[in-house]
Amino acid sequence: MNKVVRKEFFSENVVCLEVEAPRIAKARRAGHFVIVRVDKKGERIPLTISSADVDKGTITLVVQRVGVTSKKLTDLEPGECVADLVGPLGQATDVKKVGTVLACGGGVGVAPLLPIVEAFKKAGNKVVSVLAARTKDLIILEKQIREYSDDVLIMTDDGSYGEKGLITEGMEKVIAREKIDEAVIIGPAIMMKFAAEVTRKHGIPSIASLNTIMVDGTGMCGACRVTVDGKTKFVCVDGPEFDAHKVDFDEMLLRLNGYKDFEKNAYERYNRMQQ
């Protein structure tokens, strides 16, 4: 169960894992996520399903190394197993034919964006994707995104690939040249906050897929709660996607930082132990 069958390094710290999970592969839709626990002492973390192969019975997860758990997970080699894998969780993306969709992905946010781009394209929409990252090496899944996009714009902070600039600049450029009917925004919270400001300014309906701290992922604890339109929502059961213009991103950013010191200390301790 939950055996890693393939592992690919997208960059030094971004790893793609294909994991055996036949039931999840069959049941998942765009927008769904899973909860993973790597080993017996491990914590439970949420990861969005990037793609699935129903025939092979596998799902693909893209993991960025940022702490103990993502390190343990990306250190797994093909043939090894994750202790626990549960899903698919959350509400699937509401995919409709709306016209032209602007798909915005920042960093590893492109991984969860991929199935949504695919679904919107298959539903008959025109899809324009803007992928952004700090530098060239961190642009991931470009080929796969191109497969389901009518046009792709690449933005890097340092100009090492595509155009130099932030995702918001790329978005403005696309919005200036054509009518956008809906936007999908996935990436780091701070990026989603500013990207949502752009679409708000232009009156474009937008959804954001939120990535908060989670424990169980089934609605029983509220660790993942966010304020949407003034009301408390649980990302794991009510989301992960919400109206990007109604999310309190400032609160979300503060909550994401709640365990930062723990995480830093735990990672340092883990790295020391590994040496």
Partner: protein, 497 residues
Amino acid sequence: MDKANILKQERETTWRIELRKKIKNKDRTSIERVKMPEADPSERRRSFMEVNRGLTSEAAMTEASRCLDCPTPTCIEGCPVGINIPKFIKNIERGEFLEAARVLKETSSLPAVCGRVCPQEKQCEANCFYTRKLKKPAVAIGYLERFAADYERETGNISIPKKAASKNKKIACIGSGPAGLSFAGEMAKRGYDVTVFEALHEIGGVLKYGIPEFRLPNNIVDVEIESLKKLGVKFETNFIVGKTATIEELKQEGFEGFFVGSGAGLPRFMGIPGENLVGILSSNEYLTRVNLMEANKEDSDTPILKGKRVAVIGGGNTAMDSVRTALRLGAEKAMIIYRRSEEEMPARVEEIKHAKEEGVEFLTLQNPIEYLGDNKGYVRQIRVQRMKLGEPDASGRRRPIPVEGDEYLLDVDTVVVSVGVAPNPLIPQSMPDLKTTSWRTLEVDQESLQTSVPFMFAGGDIVRGGATVILAMGDGRKAANAMDQQLSKNLESSVKE
């Protein structure tokens, strides 16, 4: 033969008659109720060791001799799973401890759990002859149940109940909490092929993620789960029925009957300003991090906020578990904030007593109305409103009303919100035909616990809202009985055809 007659006949077995003759009733009733040995408060308040230490064999036998072996044992009526109380207690009195444990297992799947967490003072012990007629402390039925179950486990002579011949019918049980475990055990005994589906990575529901080690050690729950496995019950963890597979898919895989015991795991928040600040969490999150994820241990990857000044909002057993956990994580000040007075607290008297002995402060007739944080988003203060009691409300408890203008600021660094739970919506969401009430619980027939979907039964908190372990277990047993009848009827009619 009906139940009353069986009880009568058993009471007339030679050993029971002789036991009754051995000590005069007057002498029995003059024995004082046993006291549960407890770990010293100063030692236990910083440790997750179990607080109640259990009875010695001698103490258990003495306590058992207080039981008068009544001709009509009313205590049984108070037990939601109908344990044959005099029979197990009389076995303890004559020193047949393993036989006592076997009697418990005739009707209960988790005696070591129930002996620890049941509110006996409201159930069996409230119906004991001592409380009803003699106005004396009841026979310590809960302590004795725990003693027999612990004795069996510790001596390694665990008995597996008799099983009926296989019925070759697959049954699905959704949720592995007390309702599900009780249902699964009953159905397995009746010869069904039962699979329990659990969303989390561990079996046991609230017994594992909710109730702390100092009240119910996880290894005790695991031993009882092992017994169910030996009975043939299968467990699938990390499986969310309705998400990982639908009910329809499971039916296609051959499951004929379904029991929903998915509980009331959805935490309520109060919806007051600042409630989403960092450091404010639900008791479910707080307790799950510690009990299920072992965040209190050095080698666990799951972090936990070890607050110095911790306020727990609420007055139920979950609030007591949370505040006592806070102490054990090193809090200098661990406080209960409750809007009514201590008299109205829903927590067990024993838990309140234990919390006080350990140094928990009780701020009653007070209610948080706002949380204030620092610029990093961490909670720093609670605006507390003082309350007074008004007229009784629908629940019969006096309604708390704010004392206008009487509020103050309380310094805190961690807040645990423990103001109740709502039914888990996953199953109703995935099955539109399933009727729910305005409380979002499942609608069931009171007698059979059958839902609006004929092949589906339900029990425990998904039907009751937040209730107790033993009521959930009683439901599991009742639903098993009804489902067995339904499926046996189907079997008969198909044979006739």
